[in-house]
C-alpha cells in the first residue's frame, strides 16, 4: 500500500512550503517517526516526519522547490510497488491551469473575430491577470527558454520572465546577466569608456518565504487598516534606577524592553479596547494578554509571543524573551510560539532611533514603537536639568481604537514606567 507524503500545514498562515532539505533519498527505508525532510514555511524551518514505515519509492520535488499545502512531496511503499496512478494524479493535479472547457463565452471582448475564441472550446485565451495560480510555484518558461537556460547552466528561478503571466521566453534568457537584473530590452554596453565607479555589484535576491509573508501581511495591514499614530515622551529615570537595583540584587539581566513589555501588558488589562482585533463583522476584545515582541533576524522579522505577559514577572518575561529571540534567530520557532498575539512591541532603541512608527501586526489593533532612552535637558520646577527620556509611538487601527482611547492607554503606560513600583500592584 503506497503512502503519500504530502505538504503538511506547519503554520496557520502557510500556503506553501519550500523543501529546505531532504534527509532521505529514493530507495531508503524509513520508519514511522523518522524526520524525512526540513521544510521552510513562511515563518520557520520545520521538520517533517514520516507517520508510516516504508521504502521511499519516489521523491517528486527537489530541495529549494515550493510545494502547496497538501501537495505531493514523496511516495512511500513497498519495493516494486506500482505507484504510477498516484504519480499521474499528482501530475494532473499540479499541472498548470488548463484551458477550461466551460461554455461561458467571452464577455470581455466584443470583437467580431478573435483568434482565440472557439465556440467549440470556449475562450482559450488566458487573460493577463486572471492567472489561475495553480502552478504550484512552477516556473513558467517556454520550452526553448528552458533549453537555452539548461545549456548555459542558468537557473531559471533567477530570471525574470517578460512573457504572459511571467513566462520566461528566449530573449529573457539571452539577456540574462548573472548578478544583474534582467533588462527586458538588451542593454547596449558602451564600449568607449570602461571606467567602473562602483565596486559593489548589483545582485538579484531570491524572495524567501519569510519575505513573501512579510510583504503580503504588512502591505495588507498598512494599506487596508486605517493607521493613526500617537507619540508620548516618558521620563525613564525611575525605570533606570529600578532596573539597576533589580539586576544587581537578583543576578538577572532584565532589559528595558522587558520592562516595557510588562508595563504594556498591565496597561492592556486596563484598556481592553487596545487589546483587540477587527474581525470584519465584529470586534473581538481579548481577555488574555499575549504580547508579541518583534525580533530582527538576517532574513527579516519574527514576532515571538510572550503569553499571559500580564501575569508573568519581569524575570520570567526576560528569560522567555531571550529564549524566543534565540530560537527566532536560529529559525527554530514553532508556529505556536508565534501565533495568537493580542498586541505587539517593536523596539529600535538599541539602534539609537529616537522615535518611529511601526506597522500594525495583524490581527492586533495596535503596535507600540519604542525609541531610545535619550539624555535631554528637561524643565523641572522652572529649572533646566538633565533628564532621561524615551519616546514611544502607538500605531492604532482606527476601526477599533479611537484617538482618546489610544491616548488613555499611552498615559497608563507612561504612568507605569515612570512609577515602576505600580507594576507590583
Amino acid at each position: 500500500m503506497a503512502i503519500k507524503i504530502e505538504m503538511p500545514k506547519l503554520s496557520d498562515t502557510m500556503e506553501e512550503g519550500v523543501i529546505a532539505k531532504w534527509n532521505v533519498s529514493e530507495g531508503d527505508q524509513v520508519e514511522a517517526g523518522d524526520i524525512i525532510a526540513e521544510v521552510e514555511t513562511d515563518k520557520a524551518t520545520m521538520e517533517v516526519e514520516a507517520f508510516d514505515a516504508g521504502k521511499v519509492l519516489k521523491i517528486l520535488v527537489g530541495e529549494g522547490d515550493a510545494v502547496p499545502l497538501g501537495g505531493l512531496m514523496a511516495v512511500l511503499g513497498e519495493e516494486g510497488e506500482d505507484i504510477s496512478e498516484i504519480l499521474d494524479n499528482a501530475g494532473s493535479a499540479s499541472s498548470g491551469s488548463g484551458a477550461s472547457g466551460s461554455e461561458d463565452s467571452d464577455t470581455s471582448s466584443t470583437e467580431e473575430k478573435s483568434n482565440d475564441f472557439d465556440p467549440v472550446f470556449g475562450d482559450l485565451d488566458k487573460k493577463e491577470g486572471t492567472s489561475a495560480s495553480t502552478d504550484n510555484g512552477r516556473i513558467k518558461a517556454s520550452p526553448l527558454a528552458r533549453k537555452i537556460a539548461e545549456d548555459k547552466g542558468i537557473d531559471l528561478s533567477s530570471i525574470n520572465g517578460s512573457g504572459p503571466e511571467g513566462r520566461i521566453i528566449k530573449k529573457d534568457v539571452e539577456n540574462y546577466q548573472p548578478g544583474a537584473a534582467t533588462p527586458s530590452v538588451a542593454a547596449e554596453t558602451p564600449v568607449a569608456s570602461k571606467t567602473n565607479f562602483s565596486t559593489i555589484e548589483s545582485k538579484e535576491v531570491k524572495i524567501s518565504q519569510m519575505r513573501k509573508t512579510i510583504a503580503r501581511r504588512l502591505s495588507e495591514s498598512k494599506f487596508s487598516n486605517p493607521h493613526f499614530y500617537e507619540t508620548i515622551d516618558i521620563d525613564m529615570k525611575a525605570a533606570i534606577a529600578a532596573r539597576s537595583s533589580l539586576n544587581e540584587a537578583n543576578d538577572v539581566k532584565i532589559s528595558f524592553n522587558d520592562i516595557v513589555v510588562k508595563a504594556c501588558a498591565i496597561a492592556l488589562t486596563r484598556h481592553q479596547a487596545v487589546n483587540s482585533s477587527w474581525l470584519g463583522d465584529i470586534i473581538k476584545e481579548h481577555g488574555d494578554v499575549h504580547v508579541a515582541v518583534a525580533v530582527a533576524i538576517d532574513e527579516g522579522l519574527m514576532t515571538p509571543v510572550i503569553r499571559h505577559a500580564d501575569q508573568k514577572g519581569l524575570a520570567q518575561i526576560s528569560a522567555e524573551t531571550r529564549e524566543l529571540a534565540g530560537l527566532a534567530r536560529d529559525r527554530k520557532l514553532q508556529p505556536e510560539q508565534m501565533e495568537g498575539s493580542t498586541f505587539t512591541i517593536s523596539n529600535l532603541g538599541m539602534f539609537g532611533i529616537e522615535e518611529f512608527t511601526a506597522i500594525i501586526n495583524p490581527p492586533n489593533a495596535c503596535i507600540l514603537a519604542v525609541g531610545a532612552i535619550r539624555d535631554v535637558p528637561v524643565v523641572e520646577n522652572g529649572e533646566v536639568v538633565p533628564g532621561k527620556r524615551m519616546k514611544v509611538t502607538l500605531s492604532s487601527d482606527h476601526r477599533v481604537v479611537d484617538g482618546a482611547k489610544a491616548a488613555e492607554f499611552l498615559n497608563t503606560v507612561k504612568q507605569l514606567l515612570e512609577n515602576p513600583l505600580g507594576m507590583l500592584l
Binding site: E112, K113, N115, F117, D118, P119, V120, S142, P143, L144, A145, R146, K147, S162, G163, P164, I169, K170
Partner: protein
C-alpha cells in the same frame, strides 16, 4: 518566365499532359462546349475533341464514378467539379473507392486520376458553397491533396498530379483564377508533390499558409515588416503528403509559428500542423503555436458578416503579435 493567369497555368499543364499521354482525358460539368465554368478548359475541346473533353450531366456521384472506373481500367482521368462543395455528393467515390482501390486489391488495381476544381469560399455564395475541403480529404489514407496559391505552383503541381499513380485532389479557387503570376517556361515543368516552399524569408516567426490564405499571410507580413517583424512564410502547397521538415527547420530558426488555414478550427489542417510542431520541435518553441482559422460557424451570406468570418491580415497580425510577445 511568362506571366500567366492561374486558369491559364492549370490549362497549360492539362494541355501539355493531354498532348503527352493520350490516356489523359478531362470530364465534368461545362468543361467542353462552354469552355469551362471558369474557363480553365478553354480551347481543349477544339484541340482534343469530344472523346477526351467530356461534358457531363449534373451528377457528381455518377461522373466521379465513371472517372474512378476509367482509372481502374488504365486511363488517367481528370474529373472537374464546378466546386468541391458539390463533390460532397461524390465523396463515396473519392473516399471509399478511389482512395482504397490500391489498398484493397493489394496493388493489383490502381486509381491514377485527378479530381480538381475550386475549393473553399469565394465571397457571398452562402454556407453550402463556401467550405474548404482540403484537410477533410487529407484525413483519408490513399488520397493526395494539393491546394496551391500561385500560378507557377499550379502548373508544376498539376502536371505532377496527372502523372501520379494515386488519386490526387487538386484544389483551386474561384477568386484566384484571374490572378497573374510568373510561371516557369521550363519544358516539362514539374514540382514534386509533397514539397513546400519558403515564399518569404524571415527570422522572427514562421507563418504556414496555403491556398488563398497564403495571400492573406503575405499582406500581413508586408504590414509587419513596417513594424520591424520579419515573417517567414512557408507555403506547404501540398496538404498531404506534407513537407514537415521544411516547416520544422523554419521553426528551429524562428522559434514561433502561426498557421493560417481557410477551414474551420476543429481537427483541421492548422490543428495537425500545431500538433506536429510541438512533437517535432518542442524544445525550439518560444511560444505556443497559434492558429488563424475560420470560426466554428458556417459561412454567412451578408457581406459584413462574411468579411468578419473570413480570416484576414489583421487576424494574422494579431496572432503574430501574440507569439512574438509584442502585445
Amino acid at each position: 518566365m511568362a506571366e500567366l493567369q492561374f486558369r491559364e497555368a492549370i490549362r497549360d499543364a492539362i494541355d501539355e499532359e493531354m498532348a503527352r499521354d493520350e490516356k489523359v482525358f478531362i470530364m465534368g460539368e461545362e468543361v467542353a462546349e462552354y469552355n469551362g465554368a471558369y474557363k480553365v478548359t478553354e480551347g481543349l475541346l477544339d484541340k482534343y475533341g469530344f472523346k477526351r473533353v467530356i461534358d457531363t450531366p449534373i451528377s457528381e456521384l455518377g461522373f466521379a464514378g465513371i472517372g474512378v472506373g476509367a482509372a481502374m481500367n488504365g486511363l488517367r482521368p481528370i474529373v472537374e467539379f464546378m466546386t468541391f462543395n458539390f463533390a460532397v455528393l461524390a465523396a463515396d467515390q473519392i473516399i471509399n473507392h478511389a482512395s482504397k482501390a490500391g489498398y484493397m486489391t493489394g496493388g493489383q488495381i490502381t486509381c491514377p486520376m485527378v479530381f480538381r476544381g475550386p475549393n473553399a469560399s469565394a465571397g457571398q455564395l452562402g454556407a453550402t458553397h463556401s467550405v474548404a475541403f482540403d484537410s477533410t480529404y487529407a484525413h483519408f489514407p490513399g488520397l493526395k491533396v494539393i491546394y496551391v496559391s500561385e500560378p507557377d505552383d499550379a502548373k508544376g503541381l498539376m502536371k505532377a498530379a496527372i502523372r501520379d499513380d494515386n488519386p490526387v485532389l487538386f484544389m483551386e479557387s474561384e477568386q484566384m483564377y484571374g490572378m497573374k503570376g510568373e510561371v516557369s517556361d521550363e519544358e516539362d515543368y514539374i514540382i514534386p508533390i509533397g514539397k513546400g516552399k519558403i515564399k518569404r524569408e524571415g527570422s522572427d516567426v514562421t507563418i504556414v499558409a496555403h491556398g488563398k490564405m497564403y495571400h492573406v499571410a503575405k499582406q500581413a507580413a508586408a504590414q509587419l515588416e513596417k513594424d520591424g517583424v520579419e515573417c517567414e512564410i512557408i507555403d506547404p502547397r501540398t496538404v498531404k503528403p506534407l513537407d514537415l521538415p521544411l516547416i520544422i527547420d523554419s521553426i528551429k530558426k524562428t522559434n514561433r509559428c502561426v498557421v493560417v488555414d481557410e477551414a474551420h478550427p476543429f481537427a483541421g489542417f492548422a490543428a495537425e500542423i500545431g500538433f506536429l510542431i510541438q512533437r517535432e520541435a518542442f524544445d525550439y518553441l518560444d511560444a505556443p503555436v497559434q492558429r488563424v482559422t475560420l470560426p466554428d460557424v458556417n459561412a454567412p451570406f451578408a457581406k459584413n458578416l462574411f468579411d468578419a468570418w473570413l480570416p484576414d491580415a489583421k487576424n494574422v497580425i494579431d496572432a503574430v503579435n501574440q507569439v512574438t510577445y509584442r502585445n
